[in-house]
């Protein structure tokens, strides 16, 4: 690991003015620093920031501090009761030890597990812009079928972010130009020809908290994660579904996918195909086909397309079942 300047900040303003790379749980950053993939000159420890609370909002909804650890958020009573998909997504991710360390803000910025990104002996446009992509013609079983470009097909691996995408979270930030609210659908960017840029954060901007709007009554949410082993593994395909029923009809549905896209993948095709329609297997299959219609398989990952479709159908069944 390369040497760096270390500073600890106790307030958001001090952290922003420290002009360094923020370290919270460190589970992604320290790992990548050991691999020399990340080589920050200055590290700003934001662990003392007073952002570790989950608070109910007046009028419903939740405010989740950026420093809330994944395990605390997953086990929060309000989250388990009102946003089950978020709790399930968090508990499906990483290991208990890592969940005790990883934070809400950090997890939104989790870096890809693409093996070529993590290995400095290979070209990688995300790590070293312009050097080329080793995955497009390489071993690409874990890579993206949605959102990729000729420059990058790396998957954003967070489960939490997929749930937050289906919950239409708002990301709140603080930076030298003041505070901003960013809807999560506008937070991530496609790799295009600048895969080193993964989100719309400005340089030095700090995520302070995330807010979740209240969900309508009769809403069920669910996270389904499919992977090579039952625990402690990244998704090959995952689905977060948030569904509101009115009688036998689907009044409102939000679906996002993990493991298949270059970013937590929101699928607007599902709501277009299903809202106002009856909850039938035929309708679910039609929605799933639409959600993956633009998917493009690489040499080794074509199976993800069928896997994701089936995951969508299953998640829709679970969230529309009448008691």
């Amino acid at each position: 690991m390369q040497a760096f300047r270390y500073t600890k900040s106790t307030t958001v303003d001090a952290a922003v003015q420290a002009h360094g790379t923020y370290v919270a749980g460190g589970t992604t950053l320290i790992d990548l620093m050991k691999l020399n993939v990340e080589t920050p000159a200055s590290l700003v420890d934001i662990n003392p920031l007073p952002l570790a609370k989950v608070e109910a909002q007046p009028g419903g909804g939740l405010r989740i501090g950026a420093m809330v650890r994944n395990s605390d958020l997953a086990n929060d009573e309000q989250v388990k009761k009102h946003y089950a998909v978020l709790s399930e997504a968090l508990l499906s991710g990483a290991s208990p030890q890592l969940r005790n360390m990883a934070t809400t803000g950090g997890n939104l910025l989790q870096r890809t597990r693409c093996y070529y990104f993590r290995d400095t002996s290979y070209p990688c446009n995300k790590r070293e812009p312009g050097s080329g992509c080793s995955a497009t013609d390489g071993y690409n079983r874990i890579h993206a079928v949605l959102g990729g470009s000729e420059h990058c097909v790396a998957v954003m691996p967070s489960d939490m972010a997929v749930a937050m995408m289906a919950l239409e979270a708002t990301i709140h930030t603080s930076g030298s130009q003041g505070e901003r609210k960013i809807p999560i659908r506008e937070f991530y960017v496609l790799p295009g020809d600048t895969p080193q840029r993964e989100n719309t954060l400005l340089p030095g901007e700090l995520i302070t908290h995330v807010t979740l709007a209240p969900l309508p009554a009769n809403t069920r949410s669910y996270y389904l994660k499919l992977r090579d082993r039952a625990q402690y593994e990244f998704a090959l395909a995952s689905v977060a579904a948030v569904t509101t029923m009115k009688g036998r009809r689907i009044e409102r549905v939000r679906v996002a996918m993990g493991g298949v896209g270059t970013q937590p993948w929101y699928a607007p095709e599902v709501e277009k195909a299903l809202e106002g329609k009856e909850a039938t297997p035929e309708n679910f299959h039609r929605a799933a086909e639409a959600a993956l219609a633009h998917a493009r398989p690489l040499k080794d990952n074509g199976f993800k397309i069928e896997l994701a479709k089936r995951a969508i159908v299953r998640a829709l069944h679970v969230t529309t079942e009448t008691a």
Binding site: Y6, K8, Q231
Partner: protein
Amino acid sequence: MNSRETRDTLIEGNAQPSPETTPSSTAGTESSPPLFGRFSRRSFIASLSAAGVVAGASSLAAVAVAEQEKPADASEDDSAVPGAVPVTLNINGRDHHVMLEPRVVLLHALRDHLGMPGTKIGCDHGQCGACTVHVNGRRVNSCLTLAIMHQGDRITTIEGLAQNGKLHPVQQAFLDHDGFQCGYCTAGQIMSAAALLHEPIGEDDDSVRAAMSGNICRCGAYNNIVDAVQQARKQV
């Protein structure tokens, strides 16, 4: 050495204290060379560690002197610290003062700077759980966190789990159920299981397997580990 003695030395903290196996508490503390006939894996490692502390301390001292000649860094929090700096870590109920570069992770601080080799290096990337310790009562991977980030925290390692010479119920359960073969992952498994006792997980074996999934055992002692964890959960 019979097999039970071998196992006992694998459960750190159960070894009989002797001059050469007592962990040095501060940088620069020398331990006496191991005696023939009492030479063990632990005493060998402890002597290597002590040598490393001495060699490391002298080079770090040079860095510290060089830093003093620079103008003081005007940081907002007055904690901008290039090079090695004094760090105080509370480990197993005692404060330890060491000179550490900020890039030293907690795992390596414990093993290489504080003479506590009970916490093991496995993958060094948060994938195997061999390095599991408790920070403020919660299990974490000590390989993925900087030591300097933990000043003021309460750190517990495998060396601090037994209390007053009595094994922690999880340590005893691992002995009772033969919860290991080679023993390399055992310290991490035990630290993980000891923290799990206070976590909200289901009562069945599958819940234990899920909750222990962050600890890999390449010998495949998983069934016995689950039995050991379940025994400890009933006792605590």
